[in-house]
Amino acid sequence: MARVGGELKLLGLWASPFVTRAKLALQIKGLSYEYVEEDLGNKSELLLSSNPVHKAVPVLIHNGKPVCESSVIVQYIDDAFAGSGPSLLPADPYQRAVACFWAAYLEDKMLTPWGRVFKVKTDEEKAEAMRQTIAAVDVLEDGLKECSGGQGPFFGGDSVGYVDILLGGMVSWVKASEPLSGSKLIDAEKTPLLAAWMERFCELDAAKAVLQDVDRVVEYAKLVMTKNAARASNNN
């Protein structure tokens, strides 16, 4: 892979879908980088000094300068390495605005309730959070139609773009959803375009190289939920 324009280092956690987004973007752009697996129970000095505000992964360090927040990182990779690999965002400002609108929708309406599923205590709260998540997936099906403009299976049309990467980072967790909760997040019967999207996305070389093993994610998620439940009952 080309080593273009300086030194790249990615601080991450293998399970994190947000880190996976950064890896996908780097892979698709054909960029080589050093990957550092962080222990979130014992954060490195580099992580703490690179992301003092959030102390979270992913952090992309380019020539010593840190970029934080997964969606910001993906856009940065597109901007800073414009000559390398495909463009992740459309050239037209209006099409770009459409893509950014759906990226915001994904974060605010789907990922926010989905994150709650892993944190809340009661089964009722979990079920409600899942309902909200699934409702958002239904709307996202329309988003896929709008973004792709019928040009291809991806939000980016016939090629992978920004929204594809943001959702793509979540794929192993999407697949883990059924073994974990009994509910399919992306159900071919309800959201056929998204189901087709997921299939095509997983066929990409970048996806094969980067996406986490689903069984590992399931085990990890169970561990996280157990820890959260224990912490919650200790706090009572």
């Binding site: 505000v53 970029v67 910001v72 940065y76 901007d79 800073a80 209006y94 950014c100 609108f101």
Partner: protein, 234 residues
């Protein structure tokens, strides 16, 4: 959407909404004039609003040659790209990433930490919630110090108003109004000198003055809002 025919640029908004204020500020900074502004009644949303933003049904919505753009920061970026004029986002990729990072911080961390203070009604609540809002303000003071560098440039955008400035700027008139009613000073000059200076310079800028509601008008609204909820006059 026949009603929109023939109008080049239209902004659907609500005068109190920080997100609408932010878009007006961005349009002014970019030098985009002559657009039609439509004040929406959020209790009785127009057909145009509902059809232009079917996903959220919210303001602001910018309609450019009949095509709607929704979500305030998406609109600000669109305005920056679709019109010639002073740059709102920096051209350097790294500086752009810093601007995006801080705009996200303002919406995801700063505002949610301030919101409980805005909603407080008793002196006790206010004292508690005000204290809880301070850490995010400290972080923004540091951010401004970083962005403005040792040369002490006036704005997050450096010499001129930029993306982060309008991201925070949309909230500024509200911050001042609530401070006035509560007797507080969020961007206290002694504790946060750079933010205090920023607030003054930002509010005084021509583009901002014309685009922002008067603090006094928000004070009137805020007092009514608080009185209505508690059923008592303050």
């Amino acid at each position: 959407m026949a009603a929109a025919a023939g109008v080049e640029l239209r902004l659907l908004g609500e005068w109190l909404s920080p997100y609408c204020i932010r878009v007006k500020q961005a349009l002014a900074v970019k030098g985009v004039a002559g657009y039609e502004y439509v004040e929406e009644d959020l209790e009785h949303k127009s057909e145009l609003l509902l059809s232009s933003n079917p996903v959220h049904g919210k303001v602001p919505v910018l309609i450019h040659r009949g095509a709607p753009v929704c979500e305030s920061l998406v609109i600000v970026q669109y305005v920056d790209e679709a019109w010639a004029g002073p740059a709102i986002l920096p051209s350097d990729p790294y500086e752009r990433s810093r601007a995006r990072f801080w705009a996200a911080y303002i919406d995801d961390k700063f505002f949610p930490s301030w919101e409980p203070f805005f909603k407080s009604k008793t002196a006790e609540d206010r004292a508690e919630t005000f204290k809880n809002a301070i850490p995010a303000v400290e972080t923004l003071e540091k951010a401004l110090t970083e962005c403005s560098s040792s040369e002490g440039k006036p704005f997050f955008g450096g010499d001129s108003i930029g993306y982060v400035d309008v991201a925070l700027g949309g909230y500024l008139a509200w911050i001042k109004a609530v401070d006035e009613v509560a007797g507080t000073s969020l961007f206290d000059e002694a504790k946060f000198p750079r933010l205090a200076a920023w607030a003054e310079r930002f509010a005084a800028a021509d583009a901002v003055r014309d685009a922002s509601p008067a603090v006094e008008d928000i004070v009137v609204f805020y007092k009514k809002m608080q009185a209505a909820e508690t059923g008592a006059e303050h």
